[in-house]
């Protein structure tokens, strides 16, 4: 960028030096931020992986037992049994701040605390397999909730890391080298001007002396 119009004066030089200082400090801070975000991110990724595997396993199991239940009961009966839920879930969301990234925190409340409330039917007309299926689901649901939280956190962190990484790179590979080359350019120009002035003065002095001698 040394080709663009920068006026080689001391004032601009001082300005550029100030900007370089700021850019260097910003670069260092952003780098630290990126490293810390990365550390947090890796933790989240690990937890996410474990949770996802657990959820997928649990759900497959739950679906399998539901399948068994539905093969034992008639579809109408099954539908009727599950038609109207007795339990309801209230989900509340808060935000947690991780390195200036807002990530959600979920907490859920069931309307009634009795775990038996997930069975919205009488036991007379349904099979025990359905109870099993619902129990499986209730268990896996807690993991599912945590998975949602962790996965969202992961996505948000990934975005922030990407942004921070871009900024760090822009500073490191564009801004700072540009500023440095501009500063170098100005310093060189100023030195050149100084030399030119010196040479001119010497020349003038010589001429003046010669004139003085000739007149003598």
């Amino acid at each position: 960028m040394a080709g663009t119009a920068i006026i080689p004066t001391r004032m601009v030089l001082n300005q550029l030096k100030g900007r370089l200082r700021t850019a260097r400090r910003g670069h260092k801070l952003l780098k630290d931020k990126r490293d810390e975000l990365m550390r947090q991110f890796m933790d989240v990724v690990k937890r996410n992986k474990i949770l996802r595997e657990r959820v997928e396993e649990g759900l497959t199991e739950a679906f399998a037992s539901l399948q068994v239940a539905s093969s034992i009961m008639s579809p109408e009966m099954l539908e009727q049994a599950l038609l109207y839920p007795r339990q309801s879930v209230e989900l509340s969301m808060k935000y947690k701040n991780i390195m200036s990234v807002n990530v959600p925190l979920y907490s859920f409340q069931t309307q009634s605390s009795d775990p038996a409330e997930i069975y919205p039917y009488g036991f007379a007309q349904t099979s025990g397999e359905l109870d099993d299926a619902l129990e499986h689901m209730a268990k896996v649901f807690e993991d599912m909730l945590e998975l949602a939280e962790v996965e969202k956190t992961m996505q948000l962190l990934a975005e922030e890391i990407e942004k921070t990484r871009r900024r760090v790179n822009a500073l490191e590979y564009v801004m700072i080298p540009d500023l440095e080359s501009n500063i170098k350019y100005i310093t060189m120009k100023l030195e050149e001007n100084e030399n030119a002035t010196k040479v001119r003065l010497l020349k003038v002095k010589e001429m003046v002396l010669q004139q003085a001698h000739n007149f003598k």
């Binding site: 990724v45 996802r52 679906f63 839920p85 339990q87 935000y95 069975y119 689901m137 948000l156 990407e162």
Partner: protein, 94 residues
């Protein structure tokens, strides 16, 4: 779906198109109503761009779950995508 018995709201969809429409509807209406939406993988695969729209907003969270036929690995794929996005390369090694 057994989730209804747990007290969740369920929205059945027959086709991916229907699922996409439902998803749009739910996210539009629910400014704060639904914070988490679970969607089956086999539908999610076909409405990926709808889902990607919510990747960067804190709410709602759209989470893929395996369907009746078992997992097809899309959920783990999302994890790998996020890692690749953050790190620039896949460092999980699989």
């Amino acid at each position: 779906m057994g989730f209804k018995a747990l007290g969740l709201d369920t929205f059945p969809a027959e086709t991916p198109g229907e699922a996409g429409k439902l998803l749009r509807q739910l996210t539009r209406e629910s400014e704060a109503e639904y914070a988490i939406i679970y969607i089956e993988e086999n539908f999610a695969a076909q409405i990926q761009n709808e889902i990607d729209r919510f990747k960067d907003s804190p709410s709602p969270a759209i989470i893929l779950i395996p369907g009746r036929e078992g997992s097809i690995g899309l959920g783990l794929q999302a994890l790998h995508d996020a890692v690749e996005r953050a790190v620039g390369t896949n460092i999980l090694g699989d």
